[in-house]
């Protein structure tokens, strides 16, 4: 049997007719009564969102000095969060665009919420660099526009490249996601019972009537967008990594960063996808759509990217000694023996040691284990970014300027708050939009017989 078919076999198609699929999934949005657990989750994440807003408000009122940043460690939590959130976004794009081009049909049942995850994550990421500015109200000076000062941005700065990278990324992601939503929005419009919902979904459905002409253009556009989005999986985090490797700070100034960061990004992305998928399928009874096999595949992907990350860790240390630069060597020694050593070893534990469990089949098949591993990796990846940014800065060229970074309450509040806001947006997405692409599932169900 062709591999493609084997994969297609994982699609839940054969077991359900299109109508049932639509009932099951649209039901979540239209019919299903709100569960108390859902409300509880909503409440908690809303609370953290408020915390986030308070932290940001206080930040704007007083200044970035409310954080623990200092000289020499002028970047810490905000930038760590930024890199972490952008990274998480990548898995979504990878699943929806990359796998689409590779004709990995099994992606259909997970791409929708993965893309949503991407958008919300990148939204969080996009905020961070603005929040971390000393004078955030001037953030638009980083963008090129004709002004009365006759000055332009400084094109050599990676931060300017970031503006473009992140900007492109979020726009393409949203358009891609929205395109995919059109048929489903139409479905919801047609199935909605109240006038209000009909209009709401209707407006966003942009008059989709499911004609052959619609489908034809839809398919083309979707494929094109996938083609646009795919390179972003590589480019965005490569550019982000340049924020560091472009600098001459020992511990930053390294050529391996782009691939290293991309691997790390996908790693944390798949982790987040699992952390979201497992409760999702349990809560909304989607086990037959997001099957063990799906989880297992994501587990495999996590293992692969995890190994790439582990390799990068090795290369970092190796090249420090191979390069023989005293400052680089000092940084590496300090990283694993100095004040931040606990963090460094926690990173090794979370990102390298524990995930090796994924070699075991039963782990890859156990939703719970994967969920736990996802959490571990998410923590590990955040710590990794923190380590790279903070420890390198805290221990640079002149010993006289060495100084440790100690986070304040507001550092933690901003991190926790951003996670809360992310969760809130995701929950609302589940409530108002189909978490799985009905149209694509129906298509799979329809295509299925051909493979036999």
């Amino acid at each position: 049997m062709a591999p493609e078919a084997a994969l297609a076999g994982d699609a839940p198609g054969p077991r359900y007719s299109g109508a049932v699929i639509t009932d099951r999934i649209a039901g979540i949005v239209l019919a299903r009564p709100t569960h108390w657990g859902f409300l509880a989750g909503l409440g908690v994440s809303a609370a953290f969102t408020v915390l986030f807003l308070v932290a940001v408000g206080y930040l704007f009122a007083v200044g970035v000095g409310i954080w623990g940043i200092d000289q020499p460690v002028a970047w810490a939590f905000a930038i760590t969060n930024f890199v972490w959130w952008v990274g998480i976004g990548h898995a979504g794009t990878f699943i929806s665009a990359f796998l689409l081009l590779l004709r990995q049909h099994w992606r259909t049942s997970i791409n929708r919420f993965a893309e949503a995850m991407t958008i919300f994550a990148v939204a969080m990421a996009g905020l961070m660099p603005i929040l971390h500015l000393g004078r955030p109200w001037f953030f638009y000076w980083l963008a090129p526009y004709p002004d009365v000062m006759n000055v332009w941005p400084q094109w050599r700065s990676p931060l300017v490249w970031d503006i473009f990278a992140i900007g492109t990324y979020i726009i393409v992601s949203i358009v891609f996601w929205y395109m995919g939503l059109l048929p489903d929005l139409a479905t919801l419009r047609d199935r909605a019972r109240t006038r209000g919902k009909q209009i709401a979904y209707g407006v966003f459905a942009l008059g989709w009537r499911g004609e052959a002409r619609h489908w034809h253009r839809y398919e083309t556009a979707y494929l094109l967008l996938a083609g646009l989005a795919t390179p972003l999986v590589i480019s965005v985090h490569s550019v982000v990594s340049l924020d560091f490797s472009f600098g001459l700070v020992p511990g930053w100034h390294s050529t391996i960063f782009p691939p290293y960061f991309v691997a790390g990004a996908l790693y944390s992305g798949f982790a987040m996808a699992l952390v979201l998928a497992v409760p999702l399928r349990a809560a909304f009874g989607l086990r037959d759509f997001i099957t063990e096999r799906h989880l297992a595949k994501m587990g495999t992907l996590m293992l692969v990217t995890g190994l790439l990350v582990a390799y990068s860790y090795g290369v970092e240390v190796f090249s420090a000694y191979f390069g023989g630069d005293a400052h680089e060597i000092a940084i590496m020694e300090d990283r694993y023996t100095g004040a931040y050593a606990p963090v460094a070893w926690a990173v090794i534990l979370c990102n390298v040691v524990i995930p090796q469990a994924l070699w075991l089949g039963w782990v890859r098949r156990s939703a719970l284990a994967l969920f736990a591993l996802g959490l571990v990796v998410l923590v590990g990846m955040w710590l990794e970014r923190f380590l790279i940014i903070v420890q390198s800065l805290a221990h640079d060229f002149l010993p006289s300027s060495w100084h440790l970074f100690v986070p304040t309450f507001w550092d933690l509040a901003t991190l926790a708050g951003s996670i809360g806001a992310f969760a809130l947006m995701f929950l609302l997405f589940l409530r108002f939009l189909p978490a799985i692409s009905m149209a694509e599932l129906r298509k799979e169900a329809h295509h299925e017989p051909m493979h036999q």
Binding site: G134, L159, L398
Partner: protein, 963 residues
């Protein structure tokens, strides 16, 4: 703007005092809108008149700004141009000449007076900070009677009433600090003549009692001994910190450095031996240093004197290493007439006497060592004088006490019970700059005029006299001691200037006006320097060194390098200026040696209780490499209760452990852990170089044989690069810092702070590592922790030609200009801080919070030529761009190009040792080029190929072999 002597003249030609007169409202009814403001409010109104646009108002549509014209434009004053006035600022009674820069009537910056022997154009940190003291909103602002607001006239009436009731002055006492001012002395004498039974006491916590007593012992008369370090080839310091804490230390530092500079001629290069009881700048500069318990110093002195043959008998055992002793003795006796033995102010009289004996024996007196009549108008033993006063107060025989500019309640030895005694005095009048501890204990308090607001005169370490002229009318109607004495003598009308001219016209009857103008102009009264004396040495006997047995600890009290005896406690600049050896800010701490700390199981910031007899004091511990084992060192000047909002309640009050018999060295101290901890803010958390090539050191021999390949950075200026080199205009500014000359006094740091409107951030922020100083002085220890070599390195922005900060700034806020300066454009900066991360020297400073507070009186200090930075903006050294621009515009107007030395940066101007040289690389003749062509020239972290414009000259050490 240039700071060469012509400046003094230019400044001085302005017959400035005219407008002061007017401003004092005596001549012209409309005085308060002219010339100088009389008070802050008027003065704020006038500020509009200054084009000087200080303050970073982001938006381009500001509220309507107002311009208030003068009534009659003051002569010599051009809008928007600074004027310099020559004056003097006293430290512990000894004056140093200064030039005060005034912008639109506001004293904003202080420079040294090149014509003054104690300054030669440089100043110490205290003079730099004086301008902040002037504008300190905590200063006493009104006369107070028993705490209630009163008037000057009321205080006069009360005082004169008191005195009228005592025609012969019975029970009337006057307490001052050591008086060197001739006019004030004359006035006091007049007062005592008028009231024969009145008595005059002098008390100053940091006094010269020991030195004078030592001179009495050796010569039978009190003397001020001065030294010519520029002539000395071998120097032995017996616990004397002559580079940082001695009358004339600024001049001494200059002379000393002239024999230490990287390119000092071999025949003039000096070698410095130091024994000291607390690490000091002098110890750090030493070639051979021995940490020694203070109580062992006399024995050491005796041993050396004996070995030299200057003393008949020596101690049983010398407390110093034998080979060290041999080295000192050999070196000293090899350079007879060309060496110096100098005893520390705190050492007991016979150590001073021994030093005199050695200098006589070595034939230094008259050459490198010069005896002068004491600068103090009348030499008294301060301690005895105060003890006597306290005794009489206890006895109740004092009923009227005038305290002029002194704070005995805080500074009196603990065992005198001074404050209790004070309560027994019915009438106490206090004249002071602040409503301090003594003011609170007095019935009447009169605000004193600040040195920059006063007419007066003061004598320098070598007897040279300077007339002090006010640069602004007293902000709070303060009075000078001279005025108060005049009032007491019955002359309530005369103002300070009249009194001063009255005295000096007595000394200079003929052609007085010309003389007075000239003296003001130059900032020195010609021909007042004291004539050297050659008294005969008399035999004296040295008390047997009484070393208490065993391990009982000894407490060494020191003058604080920042707050002095406590009078500067409310000065935020000084509080935040890292102390040279410990890099501590905002607090004093009990300094202990690493070994002692280990024995007692102490770590930094542990609070210990220091116990002596029945007294005890809690203080946090700071482990200090190079502290002699077996003693604890604590600086005076902290634990003030009424210093002001900045200084009150900071640190531990060492006076609590100070007694009449043990003013400096307290034996039999015990250290008891309290289990508590106290957070200290150190500006530098790591003190070792980790084997990196940071402060480069070479021996004299190496330096002589030195080629660029050997010890410089070969051709770091033309290393290969992928980037195109920055565009060059006619000027390529650069700086060279001589690490051999630098003594680490940090005057550059505070001068920069004053010049560039650098905010103070406070203790918590310093702990976070957010201090804002544009030029910091790094301190590294090398070698053993027991007795390390300590080196200093001033680090301003390196102005890299390939600046790593520039390529990462997203908004062009960090850019290169055609003069090769790496400019930081504050109004363009959005605060990404990437530039700081990417700066290998970490010289960029970020306004994490709104540090520049908007306090009217402090705004008045700001330099109008420099933007005040708001929060969220990165800032850093820009080679005093405002000074370059001002000079360049002046030159461009005349269509000529700048001469070498015409632009002087703030740090360069203030440096006592001339360690910093700044100039134009495109001018082959420039001093800076001469230095950079030296083989000792090297760039910090040159391997990064940042091509710094600021480079260093390696530190040349001059050890004796086998010592």
């Amino acid at each position: 703007m240039s700071r060469d002597p012509n400046d003094t003249d230019r400044a001085a030609h302005l017959r400035f005092w005219r407008s002061v007169e007017e401003a004092q409202g005596e001549v012209d009814p409309s005085a308060d809108t002219i010339g100088l403001p009389t008070g802050r409010r008027d003065f704020m109104r006038l500020m509009g008149a200054s084009i000087a646009l200080a303050g970073l108002a982001g938006c381009s549509r500001p509220p309507l700004e107002r311009i208030v014209p003068f009534r009659d434009g003051p002569q010599q004053q051009t809008y928007g141009k600074p004027i310099f006035y020559a004056s003097a600022i006293a430290r512990d009674g000894y004056g140093a000449g200064v030039l005060v820069e005034c912008n639109m009537g506001r004293p904003t910056k202080i420079e040294g007076n090149p014509l003054h022997p104690a300054s030669l154009g440089a100043t110490d940190v205290f003079s730099q900070a004086a301008v902040l003291e002037l504008w300190d909103p905590d200063r006493s602002q009104t006369v107070r009677a028993g705490g209630a607001i009163a008037t000057w006239d009321a205080s006069i009436a009360a005082l004169q009433g008191r005195l009228r009731a005592r025609p012969r002055g019975a029970g009337v006492r006057l307490l001052t600090e050591t008086v060197t001012s001739p006019s004030l002395h004359a006035a006091i004498r007049a007062l005592l003549g008028r009231y024969p039974e009145a008595r005059w006491h002098q008390w100053q916590p940091v006094n010269r009692d020991n030195a004078y007593a030592g001179a009495r012992l050796a010569y039978g008369t009190p003397l001020d001994t001065t030294y010519r370090f520029d002539r000395a080839r071998v120097i032995l310091s017996l616990d004397a910190d002559f580079l940082d804490a001695m009358p004339g230390c600024v001049r001494y530092a200059h002379d000393f450095a002239s024999t230490r500079a990287a390119h000092a001629p071999a025949e003039r290069r000096s070698r410095l031996y130091v024994v000291e009881s607390t690490p000091s700048l002098t110890g750090a500069a030493a070639d051979h240093r021995v940490p020694l318990r203070a109580r062992d110093v006399p024995a050491a002195a005796q041993a050396i004197a004996h070995a030299l043959g200057a003393a008949s008998d020596g101690p049983a055992t010398a407390p110093v290493p034998a080979e060290w002793l041999q080295a000192v003795v050999a070196d000293l006796s090899q350079s007879r007439g060309g060496c110096i033995v100098i005893a520390g102010e705190r050492q007991p009289p016979h150590v001073h006497a021994l030093a005199h004996a050695m200098n006589e024996h070595l034939g230094n007196v008259g050459g490198t060592v010069v005896h002068l009549p004491a600068a103090a108008a009348e030499v008294v033993d301060c301690t005895a004088s105060l003890r006597e006063l306290a005794r009489d107060m206890h006895a109740g025989s004092v009923d009227t006490l005038l305290v002029l500019d002194a704070n005995p309640v805080h500074t009196a030895p603990a065992d005198l019970g001074f404050s209790d005694a004070l309560t027994r005095v019915p009438f106490k009048l206090h004249l002071g700059l602040y409503e301090d501890e003594t003011a609170a204990a007095s019935d009447w308090h009169v605000p004193a005029a600040h040195a920059l607001e006063s007419w007066g005169d003061v004598v320098a370490f070598d007897g040279t006299c300077t007339l002090q002229q006010p640069c602004i009318a007293p902000l709070y109607g303060g009075r000078t001691p001279l005025e108060l004495i005049a009032v007491a003598t019955g002359d309530a009308q005369a103002d300070a200037r009249t009194l001063l001219t009255r005295y000096w016209s007595g000394r200079q009857p003929q052609d007085f006006d010309a003389f007075f103008d000239d003296a003001l102009r130059r900032g020195v009264v010609p021909g007042t320097a004291s004539a050297p004396q050659r008294p005969a040495l008399r035999p004296f006997d040295v008390p047997p060194s009484t070393t208490p047995p065993g391990a009982s600890l000894e407490l060494v009290l020191t003058t604080d390098p920042r707050t002095g005896d406590g009078r500067h406690a409310n000065n935020a600049w000084l509080q935040e200026l890292p102390k040279p050896l410990t890099q501590l800010t905002w607090d004093n701490a009990a300094l202990v040696s690493p070994a002692l700390a280990q024995r007692l199981g102490l770590v930094n910031e542990d609070v210990v209780s220091l116990r002596v007899a029945d007294r005890s004091l809690d203080a946090p511990v700071w482990i200090t490499p190079g502290m002699p084992d077996g003693c604890v060192s604590l600086s005076l000047g902290y634990g003030r209760t009424r210093a002001g909002t900045v200084g009150s309640g900071r640190g531990a009050n060492a006076y609590a452990l100070r007694t009449v018999d043990a003013p400096w060295f307290v034996p039999g101290v015990s250290l008891v852990r309290t289990g508590r901890r106290y957070a200290l803010a150190s500006a530098q958390t790591h003190g070792r170089m980790e084997g990196r090539d940071i402060v480069r050191m070479v021996s004299v021999a190496q330096a002589a044989a030195c080629t660029a390949q050997a010890c410089g950075t070969p051709g770091y200026r033309d290393q290969r690069t992928l980037y195109d080199s920055p565009p060059f205009g006619p000027y390529a500014w650069a700086m060279s810092i001589d690490l051999s000359s630098c003594i680490g006094c940090a005057a550059c740091t505070i001068a920069c702070q004053a010049e560039n409107n650098i905010p103070v951030v406070g203790k918590e922020e310093v702990r976070r590592g957010r201090e804002m100083h544009w030029i910091r002085v790094d301190r590294y220890h090398e070698g053993s922790v027991q007795n390390p070599r300590t080196v200093f390195q001033p680090v301003p922005c390196m102005q890299c030609e390939h600046a790593p900060c520039e390529v990462v700034c997203p908004v062009e806020a960090s850019v290169h200009d055609a003069q090769g300066i790496n400019v930081q454009v504050y109004n363009r900066c959005v605060g990404t801080r990437f530039c700081s991360n990417n700066c290998p020297y970490k010289v960029r400073r970020f306004n994490f919070l709104q540090y520049s507070k908007d306090v009217p009186s402090l705004d008045a200090q700001r330099n109008p030529e420099v933007s005040v930075r708001m929060r969220g903006v990165m800032e850093k050294c820009n080679y005093c761009l405002q000074r370059i621009t001002t000079a360049r515009i002046a030159a461009d107007r005349e269509g000529r190009s700048l001469r070498d030395g015409e632009v002087v940066t703030a740090c360069q101007a203030v440096c006592p040792t001339r360690a910093i040289v700044f100039g134009n690389l495109n001018d082959p003749q420039s001093e800076v080029n001469r230095r950079k062509n030296s083989p000792l020239d090297y760039a910090l972290l040159a391997e990064l190929n940042t091509r710094p414009r600021t480079t260093y000259l390696a530190r040349v050490t001059n050890e004796r072999h086998g010592a």
